[in-house]
Amino acid sequence: MNMAVVQAGMLSLLQDSGRRGQHRLGLTTGGPLDGEAFHYCNALLQNPAGSTAIEVSVGGLQLSAQVDTYICLTGAAMPLAINGEEKALWEVHPVRAGDTLQIGFARSGCRAYLGVADGFQITPSFGSTATVVREHIGGLCGDRLQIGDQLPCPAVTTRKRLYLPVQEQPRYQNTLTVRVIPGYQQRHFNRIEQRRFFGGRFRVSERCDRMGYRLEGPVVGCDMAGILSEGICFGAIQVPPDGQPIVLLNDRQTIGGYPKIGAALSLDAARLSQLTTGASVYFAPITVRTAHRALDLAQRFWRQRPLRERQP
């Protein structure tokens, strides 16, 4: 009972909600870059939260179903076709053994999540199936999907055809304001440098990946070049001596020695990961209380958002 990989695409990775409690071995978190799109993928499929799905970056994945099941694609606007027939995203579709699933290249955003009913059945390593290629951990054998990979998934014959109405679906744009909780070595960035950071416009550079997004813009100065190496939390914004900030994401190194001006709100870091080279980014400071309120609201919104059922 498998899905076979016919074309692997630019970067396709098996991900669950991420690896926790293993930082002391030097293992990073991994997990889906866009937690919201990943959440809806499983919610629509009526899977337990955090079931293993494929994170498709940019696009180009093609699978061949060898089992009757249901699938759902959420996130970036990548054209989805089953046996050549275009299908809607954010909606559960039945597939039969022998069907071909084709995912084209993103028209907006750059990460999409392909899930199956009950999730892909992958043996966890260190408590998670999240693939971190740099660490050779998770997924099938610590690597991105390759042509010929067999992805185990169970046969499922009944499932509600849920969908998220178009007006409820997130839109991925080319400009983003990232809310930042100041912290860490913030006091080493003086008032003028802070103004440069929070008032400036940055551009997503070519160096943007699952480890972090490197931005280009006004040079942000810091009165220290390096610090004694210390743990790095999710979303931390490092400023190396060249003054160009790096927002650290799921596959970040667990410790590092560059000063940090603050940490991005996770909801905005997820949106950042949907941007590609050239997109514009602004930063806005918020308090930690405001951040927690935003997280609470987002959770409540995710729970209450109505998932409709398609009647055949």
Partner: protein, 228 residues
């Protein structure tokens, strides 16, 4: 010594226990990490003890920040440092040679030493594991003798062989897997530094004491070492 606790993100507090890399601070870091683990129990998502700090990760949807902060402070205030009580002593064999450590000779020349003298200086001290990070199983060991300290390479290598023993500034480490790296390579260790299948998967933990022991080529190969 002042203890500082900062909010550094939506799901993290950062505890600073000092400002320098020294054994006393490290002992406090370790004791604090254990005390915080005990105090927070299942509300603790993860922590990353290193050098002089401990970031404390929690779930902001489940736990209240000020509560976590109060409990961390109470745990740290009650701290009694039993110096290196849990530290183990680990000996790691190293094959020091030009064929296993590409920078051995240039580093010796730079220091005005022979290769043998450099090896003697590297094997003499008991190093402390100050941090684990960068890559799975990568242990930062300190401190090497001032005479053999050396800055990172101006251009990092695209691929440092697995098991490489290296020096950067006054730190030394064994590369657990082949990876890019800018440290100066002086030899190779045949013992796996990270084996996901083993229990435990690492031979060292933060706070442990590590000594290097010089072995010859034959012994290196017999212990499973590779030359490529």
């Amino acid at each position: 010594m002042t203890v500082k606790l900062h909010t550094v993100g939506e799901d993290a507090l950062m505890l600073y226990l000092g400002a320098s890399a020294d054994e006393q601070t490290l002992a406090r870091v370790q004791a604090a990490a254990a005390a915080i683990e005990h105090a927070l129990g299942s509300e603790l998502i993860d922590l990353v003890p290193s050098y002089a700090s401990v970031p404390i990760l929690y779930d902001p949807l489940r736990s209240e920040r000020l509560q976590i902060s109060r409990r961390v402070r109470a745990a740290v205030d009650a701290l009694q440092v039993q110096h290196a009580a849990t530290a183990r002593s680990v000996v790691l064999p190293v094959y020091y040679a030009a064929e296993s450590g590409a920078d051995l000779e240039s580093l010796a020349t730079r220091a005005g030493l022979s290769s043998d003298e450099l090896i003697a200086l590297h094997t003499a001290p008991a190093y402390r594991v100050y941090a684990i990070g960068f890559a799975p199983g990568f242990a930062y060991l300190g401190e090497v003798d001032e005479r053999i300290a050396a800055p990172r390479l101006a251009t990092p290598r695209a691929a440092v062989p697995r098991g490489s023993v290296a020096i950067a500034d006054r730190q030394t480490a064994v590369y657990p897997a082949e990876s890019p790296g800018g440290w100066n390579l002086i030899g190779r260790c045949p013992i796996p530094m990270f084996d996901p299948a083993a229990q435990p998967c690492m031979p060292v933990a933060v706070g442990d004491s590590v000594r290097f022991e010089a072995i010859d080529r034959e012994r290196y190969l017999a212990l499973g070492g590779e030359l490529s």
